[in-house]
């Protein structure tokens, strides 16, 4: 029998909240799902590129903040780019930037953002962590919330 939690391929059980996460593309809208849609924690599975599953670390990755990725896709709605989640590995401290999936909980994303205002990432010159709440809300909910 295959143990979901132990598997490096396919569905997995979230190492943080215990939810069973489907790797089905139709549900998440992304090709490689590493993070849990409920708590947004991830697992350090990729090494050189997203979805390569070449990392031997496999430790939990904590969502630490949000960043914008310049979009090369001409169909992208936002001219500023795509809102991305920044994860840091709880074991080896490597940082990764991940696409937000269609079924990720926007409230939890906002929570991650608000928490990120309280601390600094040590390599913040390489990744610019978003600090503008209005912009995040606009990206998440498609509107500006009146002050």
């Amino acid at each position: 029998m295959r143990n979901h939690h132990a598997s490096s391929f396919g569905d997995f059980r979230c190492g943080n909240c215990g939810a069973l996460v489907s790797s089905m593309q139709t549900q998440s809208g992304v090709n490689n799902r590493n993070h849990c849609p409920y708590c947004l924690w991830s697992c350090h599975l990729d090494l050189y590129s997203s979805g390569d599953r070449l990392s031997a670390c496999k430790a939990k990755m904590i969502p630490v903040g949000l960043t914008m990725k310049k979009s090369r896709n001409k169909y992208q709605i936002s001219p500023r780019g795509e809102l991305m989640l920044v994860h840091v590995c709880t074991d080896c401290e490597s940082v990764s930037i991940n696409r937000i999936a269609a079924d990720d909980d926007p409230k939890t994303i906002l929570e991650v953002f608000r928490n990120s205002l309280n601390f600094c990432l040590h390599n913040e010159d390489e990744i610019s962590i978003l600090r503008n709440e209005d912009m995040v809300i606009e990206q998440l909910f498609g509107m500006r919330i009146p002050a």
């Binding site: 132990a6 598997s7 490096s8 391929f9 070449l54 990392s55 031997a56 670390c57 496999k58 080896c92």
Partner: protein, 326 residues
């Protein structure tokens, strides 16, 4: 029952349904299996089968005789004979052969080989390293040393990552031969490596195994795939039968048809890591000792070795993928 002093000893060089080419003193005898061996076989593999006709097909599925086998046979004259006994094997290279509606059989690809030559083309078709890992594990399980042969080096410029990929295997210690059947590059070194032993070529269809045999020994004149755009490396197999050849410079070489499926036979999940030479030294060092599966258990020494760049992440991934199959 025949007694041994009435029979001769030869080596199986070729076989086709029910017929075995047994070589003795440079002469080929066309042999069949004795009914005793037949019966033994039928009894062994398909106690449940009732019909004789089906049983004969069964012989084809799980042939007890493999190319490379040393056999005793009774010479019936006029170049024909009957195999009465298969002598103990020094080695066997096996893969599982699934038969729809029945169980999986062991297919001995070749018996008594001394080494495995895993053949990949530099390009057209581009190498599948996961398949190489499969071959290497199979050879390790058979206790046979492997060599990695990269053919079509004239096309190497089309494969930018070739050297980097090969470095992984060089570091582990597998000997690598870069050859080109059209220019003769690497031929002499390979001949030396083949000298005096029995080697078997394994590789997908179209990688150039038969071309390599022809280049090593021009007299063979074996049929290779015709050069046609788009066809190379895909589709039809050119070599349809496994066949062994005596090499003029000493040694024996077995050409195999490209094998599409190459599963692992009789390897337990617990043993798999020991068949990756670079993982072997870390076994037993994990927090959970010998019960560690080396997947995501805490304190796994193998994962640690990958993180420390002592083990290639690609090889580790091959280990995990193969493990899921077992």
């Amino acid at each position: 029952m025949k007694t041994t002093n009435e029979s001769d000893e030869g080596v199986v060089f070729r076989k086709s349904l029910g017929h075995y080419s047994v070589r003795i003193d440079g002469q080929e005898i066309d042999c069949e299996l004795s009914s005793r061996l037949h019966k033994e076989l039928i009894y062994h593999t398909s106690a449940s089968l009732k019909h004789k006709v089906q049983s004969i097909r069964e012989v084809d599925k799980a042939d007890p005789v493999a190319v490379g086998d040393r056999v005793r046979f009774v010479d019936a004259g006029t170049g024909r004979g009957m195999i009465t006994e298969i002598l103990p094997r020094r080695s066997k290279l096996s893969r599982p052969l699934p038969v729809p509606g029945q169980r999986v059989f062991e297919q001995v690809i070749v018996a008594n080989a001394d080494q495995v030559l895993t053949v990949f083309a530099a390009s057209s078709p581009s190498p599948k390293w996961g398949l190489l890992d499969r071959y290497l594990v199979t050879a390790e399980a058979a206790g046979l040393p492997s060599r990695i042969v990269i053919t079509k080096m004239d096309l190497a410029t089309q494969n930018k990552s070739l050297e980097q990929d090969l470095e992984i295997y060089r570091r582990i210690g597998y000997p690598i031969h870069l050859v080109c059947s059209s220019t003769g590059e690497g031929r002499e070194e390979l001949k030396q490596a083949l000298h005096g032993v029995m080697s078997v070529l394994v590789g997908k269809s179209g990688v150039g195994k038969t071309s390599l045999m022809n280049a090593l020994q021009p007299g063979l004149g074996l049929r290779v795939k015709e050069v046609s755009q788009g066809d190379i490396g895909k589709g039809r197999h050119t070599t349809s039968h496994l066949q062994m050849f005596d090499l003029d410079f000493g040694g024996r070489l077995v050409d195999t048809p490209g094998m599409r499926e190459f599963g692992l036979w009789d390897i337990s999940p617990e043993d798999l890591a020991s068949l990756f030479p670079e993982l072997a030294p870390h076994i037993g060092q994990c927090k959970f000792g010998l019960s560690c599966r080396h997947d995501n258990e805490p304190g796994c020494a193998i994962r640690k070795a990958v993180m420390a760049e002592q083990v290639s992440p690609y090889r580790y991934q091959s280990y995990l993928r193969l493990r899921e199959e077992l």
